[in-house]
């Protein structure tokens, strides 16, 4: 394995309900804000749940007015905007992208099920000859990755990874291996997902949204004893990954290094807690082994918890198998407390925000958390932010875990570097 290259994170970009930069999202999370509100994108009058994490997103504000936005659906617009911010943040926007063969690995659960369904509905109602070719181009699940490549001129390896709420983290792992193995030097990776009536309706029907079962009031507080489902949300979050020598060669700042990752599958597909926990432990162990670390060395966790009664418990049980008693002491970031379940985008948010939070020295809390649920020994969780001890002489080691909605589990291990100019960052510190 010594021949494998080291992979570093040199930039991060996102679009979310709580802001359009990792810094502003961090500030808002630390303040205890959430991004949930009444849905504007589609009619909810007949529905029993009417709130979600919808971004007030004006495409022109992010993508400019100089280019034709008409071929782009909402998923593509969100991803293109996040990619623009990532390229800016990494300084890659300054280099000539076309000649660098920058790649893109996008995690997405649906691509755009709204584009797919809308294309079909028009053909159903008006007849097949009225179906829209532009919409058909967007009916493939990899459309957002293709549109983003066209927009930014990304000619390197381009792939889309599905997998529900672990798609974004799985995409980061997949991209890491591409860089490690020398397939590509620079790649944007993470996830993107839109909010739309089709997925909202589907999750509502399935009883997975907070407040969608038994008329109980919505309570999407992760790991809380009275949680009853998740708040569906949208967004996009990407990291630019580079081979260490490529990043050093152009003098880029290294925010973090990706040390390893691991995926596993629970063949009961979430139906049996013991099988689910064993899969999480297997994937986590694979990620730690890939990183050459022991569980004892992990300083921070970024968790998948979204308020699902079963999912949150399975995640805690699985992590307990990895970390044992020490799980009660490790600070945990739970981004979905404020950002909701943004499916394919979630893994991107979990990664970007862990790096950001660690560098800024405070881990946001879980607003509304009253008492931890049964079999959830995550004792460091509280309603308010947790300030980290000052940087020692080494990076902070974090494990990011994403749980799929039906059996998948993915873990990524990162070494987060201190800000090169801690003074200015401390000055900006949110409180």
């Amino acid at each position: 394995m010594s021949s494998r290259r080291r992979v570093v994170v040199t930039g991060m970009g996102l679009v979310s309900t709580l802001g359009f930069s990792p810094r502003s999202v961090h500030e808002n999370l630390v303040r205890g804000l959430d991004g949930f509100g009444p849905i504007q994108l589609f009619d909810t009058e007949q529905l029993s749940v009417r709130t979600a994490g919808e971004i007030a997103f004006e495409a022109e504000e992010h993508l400019g007015t100089g280019r034709n936005l008409r071929p782009l659906d909402r998923t593509a617009r969100l991803v293109i905007a996040a990619a623009a911010r990532t390229l800016d943040s990494s300084g890659l926007a300054e280099v000539e992208i076309g000649s660098q063969l920058v790649g893109l690995v996008l995690g997405s659960m649906f691509g755009s099920v709204h584009s797919i369904a809308a294309f079909d509905r028009r053909a159903l109602i008006a007849g097949p000859s009225y179906a829209k070719p532009l919409q058909f181009a967007n009916s493939v699940i990899n459309a957002a990755a293709g549109q983003t490549a066209i927009w930014h001129g990304l000619k390197g390896i381009n792939s889309t990874i599905a997998g529900g709420s672990l798609a974004g983290l799985s995409a980061l792992g997949y991209a890491t291996d591409l860089v490690r193995d020398g397939r590509i030097d620079t790649v944007l990776a993470g996830g993107g997902e839109e909010l739309c009536n089709e997925s909202f309706f589907g999750f509502l029907k399935a009883g997975r949204l907070a407040g969608s079962r038994n008329g109980a009031p919505a309570r999407s507080v992760p790991f809380d004893a009275d949680r009853n489902g998740f708040a569906l949300a949208e967004g996009a979050a990407l990291c630019s990954l580079e081979a260490e020598e490529t990043a050093r060669g152009r003098g880029a700042e290294v925010l973090a290094e990706i040390l390893g990752h691991g995926n596993a599958f629970d063949a009961s597909r979430g139906r049996e807690a013991a099988s689910a926990a064993a899969a999480i432990a297997r994937g986590g162990a694979a990620a730690l082994a890939d990183a050459g670390l022991n569980a004892e060395e992990i300083d921070l966790l970024s968790l998948s918890g979204n308020g699902s009664p079963e999912g949150d418990r399975h995640e805690a049980l699985g992590l307990a198998e990895i970390f044992g008693e020490r799980l009660a002491e490790i600070p945990c970031l739970v981004v979905k407390a404020g950002l909701g379940e943004s499916l394919g985008a979630s893994g991107g948010f979990q990664t970007v925000m862990l790096i950001e939070a660690a560098r800024r020295g405070s881990i946001p809390g879980i607003p509304g958390l009253k008492r931890l649920g049964v079999q959830i020994p995550l004792k460091t969780l509280s309603t308010g932010p947790r300030h980290l001890s000052p940087w020692g002489d080494r990076p902070r080691l974090g494990l990011i875990h994403a749980l799929g909605l039906d059996g998948g589990t993915s873990s990524l291990v990162v070494a987060i570097h201190p800000p090169s100019n801690s003074g200015s960052l401390a000055g900006e510190q949110a409180s």
């Binding site: 659960m109 079909d120 699940i141 990899n142 459309a143 792939s159 599905a162 997998g163 309706f201």
Partner: protein, 407 residues
């Protein structure tokens, strides 16, 4: 230390030309055509009517532990192909650590019939009839998940929805998983089910052939949407030898690239970069390539652009000497399954030293002037086979299958 070499040791096929490696390979070599008027839904509102659908597939045959009626059709095909591939590789459940078996699948549409059913109710205002389990049936990643559930596999489970190149992406990722030691065995493949969305889209683009699918023919008029699945069993050459498993072929390398040019119109530059990357990774010279399985959809543009791309990589003279054929003339375009089925074809070409023909190739096209193995299969030495696949989004994938030298 050199990286492990990766072997193909099992093949499972669900195609419009039949089921299973032996049947499908025989019919491909004989030049049968699996294209017929669409049966699964009414095409009377279209001006084209051909499709390539799977016949006589009984999912009950392949599901032992889970309920085939509780999953969508692409997942049924996928489990069928996976079961056949494991049997073909002589792998029984007791032979492997299930936690070390990975599943990597590609698809274009996932389970499109589920969103079509959703729409039927949605459009008629019958929201209450929308299946509670829509969200459990429709998302594409369920295809890989259901394979792992059926066989009890607990290793990495990855779904790669990169449209019509997805099967090759799955091969490439399976190759990398094994080389990195992330699994002992990988089931890699692709699956798609016949879909009115896909059919409507290609018909609307004027891309569906009205009478025949004739890749590289001067009078070609389009592709024919199809369905199916293929799963290949991949493992290290060392592991295959230790257990005495026959090896069809070895994966030499792959190339992936993106046009970043147009969502639906191919650009020969991107395709050429993917082929070149694959040759470099496999350390194979263009002169050593014995056969190319073309993307070859039968649309006027694809076949012209692919021909251009092959010439750009191989040079005119060498390009003319390499036999290149499109089985899509026989089984239509099976979408996410296509390049997985063609990966099986490349493996079988290497194993049997035969290459399948491009059928219905009658009139030469001056812009498509390579050797397309017209109408008759050929027996030739096949050391190295290259599998090309191109997708909406401008994604290109080429994978190299070669003879495993030291058996």
């Amino acid at each position: 230390m050199s990286r492990p070499r990766i072997a193909v040791t099992g093949i499972g096929l669900v195609t419009p030309l039949g089921l299973g490696r032996k049947t499908v390979w025989k019919r491909l070599l004989e030049g049968h055509c699996g294209i017929a008027p669409v049966r699964s839904y009414d095409t009377s509102r279209f001006n084209v009517h051909l499709g390539a659908e799977v016949e006589d597939f009984n999912p009950e045959t392949y599901f032992e532990n889970t309920d085939p009626n509780a999953v969508g059709q692409a997942s049924q095909f996928a489990v069928g192909a996976a079961r056949m591939a494991l049997t073909d590789a002589s792998i029984a459940s007791g032979d492997i650590d299930p936690g070390r078996v990975a599943v990597v699948m590609g698809t274009t549409s996932g389970e499109p019939r589920e969103v079509e059913r959703f729409n039927d109710h949605f459009v008629s205002g019958e929201h209450e009839k929308i299946d509670e389990n829509f969200i459990g049936l429709y998302p594409c990643h369920v295809i890989a998940g259901i394979i792992s559930e059926e066989f009890g596999f607990g290793g990495p489970n990855v779904m790669i929805p990169v449209a019509c190149a997805a099967g090759n992406y799955a091969m490439a990722h399976g190759f990398d998983l094994l080389r990195a030691g992330r699994a002992d065995v990988v089931l890699a493949g692709g699956a798609d089910s016949f879909s009115r969305i896909t059919y409507t889209g290609f018909a609307r683009l004027g891309a569906v052939a009205p009478e025949l699918c004739q890749p590289f023919d001067k009078n070609r008029r389009g592709m024919v949407p199809g369905e199916g699945a293929a799963v290949l069993v991949l493992e290290t050459v060392q592991r295959a030898r230790e257990r005495g498993a026959p090896i069809y072929a070895e994966i030499g390398g792959y190339g992936l690239s993106c046009d970043a040019h147009h969502m639906t119109a191919a650009d020969p530059d991107g395709a050429a970069r993917a082929m070149a990357m694959a040759l470099v990774m496999a350390r194979v010279l263009p002169t050593a390539v014995s056969y190319i399985s073309a993307h070859g959809t039968g649309t006027p543009t694809n076949d012209r652009q692919e021909t251009k791309a092959v010439k750009r990589v191989f040079g005119e003279r060498i390009a003319r000497r390499v036999p290149i054929s499109s089985i899509k003339s026989m089984i239509g375009h099976t979408m996410g399954a296509a390049s997985a089925i063609e990966a099986a074809v490349c493996s079988l070409a290497v194993a049997s030293q035969k290459v399948p023909p491009t059928i219905h190739l009658e009139t030469a096209d001056p812009e498509c002037d390579l050797d397309y193995v017209a109408n008759e299969a050929r027996e030739i030495p096949v050391e190295v086979a290259m599998n090309n696949a191109y997708a909406f989004g401008g994604n290109n994938a080429s994978v190299i299958f070669q003879k495993c030298q030291i058996q």
